[in-house]
Symmetry: C2
Subunit: 363 residues, 2 copies
């Protein structure tokens, strides 16, 4: 029996908010932020492999990360690695994956997931996904997973449900998508019980998202005219270069989800986190010691008279000996040592200097 | 014409007051503390090579540093590397070197110098040494170099002159040697004009120091009975093992210099420093930037909002990005990162932990 379920991992994002651990050439999805021994990308792939057959898992990324992807997922078939010439955010990536999948399997049902989120309680996750896949295969709807919030987090987007009574395992119609709220509004959202965190994990029939994109984001899809002739031929690369060079930069949330009246959300309560910066790293880790320190140290450590400090060190053989720091961040990598106060970690000073040619290799 | 001048570099000292840069297996003399690209030992050797022919320069050290010595001074002849089975301070080392030299050249005149001091104004240094060598060859005296003090330094030993009128280039009789004074006494010494810093650099006929040792430190030299038969034979190693196992631990200052009434000092004004810990490292460096930072960083640096802080990093390719530290010491080596307040850098906490087996490799 043919398995029509596919997973598309979006792994083209950049960003260096975890500098100096993340870099332009090694963004967050390639990092082992949870110090599990696996990168977030690899953890995403492994998690999806429990639900979707490996030959049906695709990764979309940009050219410059191709080698990193192959290193992280050596078993990935070439046809399952979709390379974008430039990054133009998620709407073009999902259009690309959708057209590719339609060439392969017109009945395809697809899960789209970021490569850089942390998910625990994998069993609950699987259950939710399986429910959603069944629902999506059956109906022409767009489905998103919404996480039942555990705090008034201002760093995540929110989804408002049309019906505030949550029945786990059953989809609820979506009323609105909202961008990251301010702290006050986040508090209102949290207390109302009508809002879920937007996980960025979507499930839909490929035909359904293609139609939604063509209807709601024609400025993206008009560029793809002729895809059914050109994809998977020698002309594909040139075709993509033209599309990506002309395409607007657009997120799938903005292009489709916020506009469609056909979106359903599956409330879910597995532990989910988008670790977006060292602050949320701290919150996620939440295994602070009695002094409030969050220590992710691969080697040995002697930490004295130090409180509310994050220490991250990748070196297996390195001893970290720290005394007398309060509210600091200490990050030690092969080629950068960064020490700065927690409340002054925009690194804007560093970044302006890092823009200088002599610092290029550290960006 | 035979050159009877020899230099003996004492390079067997241990200590880890520069931990984590210095280690039990890599003490100060092997470090490039001045970031000149050369270790203090190598700088000492190069400095002496300008005065003494290479074949007349000896190094005394303990077994476990033999390889480090050979690495630093690959051209050192085997017969010029004197290996002590254990470290028993400087009196036994100088006895050893003296007996060895007497076998080689009964007319030998010897300079004895620590391996781990910093000396600048090399031309002045050479002049002083040459004057002292001439004087020592001519008379049966023990000579030391005394540095005209530039501050009331409490970390150095002092030499009181019998005559407080300094005539550069001429020796003055020594009245007393004193150990490191307290701050108040150091101030009295400094202001009196009668005191010089004890450089630990000595010049004497080998016959003269041998006689002085045999008279003033018989507890050391009695162990060497038979040296003239046994040294340079197959029995030497066993002979040394017995001597060093039985020998008291004794400095040449205590054993001879403080007791002899035959000691003369050459006042000298070359820049000299015994960098004994990170504090004196700071004083020596004294090239603090406008914020009072002393930065010895081999790679690149971005230092912001940071003051009165020492940063030492050995990595050529490592970027050091620091913000918001005040009165700290940051030391980054291949296998240790140490961060601690300047006024809490005894590392006694660290050291007690370092005594644990799991930290052995970092000691």
């Amino acid at each position: 029996m043919i398995n029509h379920n596919y997973c598309v991992i979006l792994a083209g994002g950049g960003g260096s908010r975890f500098w100096p651990v993340s870099r332009e050439n090694r963004p967050k999805q390639f990092l082992d932020l949870t110090t599990s021994g696996k990168s977030l990308l690899r953890m995403t792939y492994d998690r999806m492999s429990r639900i979707i057959p490996a030959e049906n898992i695709l990764v979309v990324t940009i050219d410059k990360y191709a080698d990193l992807i192959r290193k992280e997922i050596p078993e990935l078939e070439d046809r399952n690695l979709l390379l974008e010439p430039f990054g133009k955010h998620t709407a073009p990536s999902i259009a690309f994956a959708s057209y590719k999948l339609l060439r392969r399997d017109p009945e395809a049902v697809m899960i789209s997931t970021p490569a850089d989120h942390v998910i625990e309680n994998v069993h609950l996750f699987e259950q939710t996904i399986e429910n959603a896949l069944d629902y999506a295969a059956d109906k022409n709807v767009l489905i998103t997973l919404g996480i039942v919030p555990t705090s008034a987090e201002a760093n995540f987007g929110y989804i408002q449900m049309a019906d505030s009574e949550i029945r786990m395992g059953e989809p609820v119609k979506v009323k609105t998508f909202t961008e990251k709220p301010d702290a006050e509004l986040a508090d209102v959202f949290f207390k109302s019980g009508e809002f879920l965190w937007n996980s960025g994990i979507f499930i839909w029939k490929v035909e359904a998202i293609k139609n939604a994109l063509e209807t709601l984001a024609p400025e993206v899809t008009c560029l793809w005219k002729g895809w059914d002739r050109i994809l998977n031929t020698e002309g594909e690369r040139k075709f993509l270069e033209k599309i990506y060079s002309d395409s607007p930069t657009l997120s799938i949330d903005y292009a489709v989800m916020e506009k469609s009246d056909n979106v359903w959300v599956y409330p879910a309560s597995f532990k989910w986190a988008d670790i977006i910066n060292w602050d949320s790293f701290c919150e996620y880790a939440s295994k602070a010691d009695k002094d409030g320190n969050v220590l992710k140290i691969n080697g040995k450590q002697i930490i004295k008279k130090t409180g509310d400090t994050i220490v991250y060190s990748g070196g297996k053989d390195k001893l970290i000996a720290i005394k007398g720091l309060k509210d600091f961040i200490v990050i030690d990598t092969d080629d950068v040592l960064m020490i700065c106060p927690k409340d002054d970690k925009s690194f804007s000073d560093f970044n302006s200097e890092l823009a200088m040619p002599e610092f290029e290799k550290y960006r």
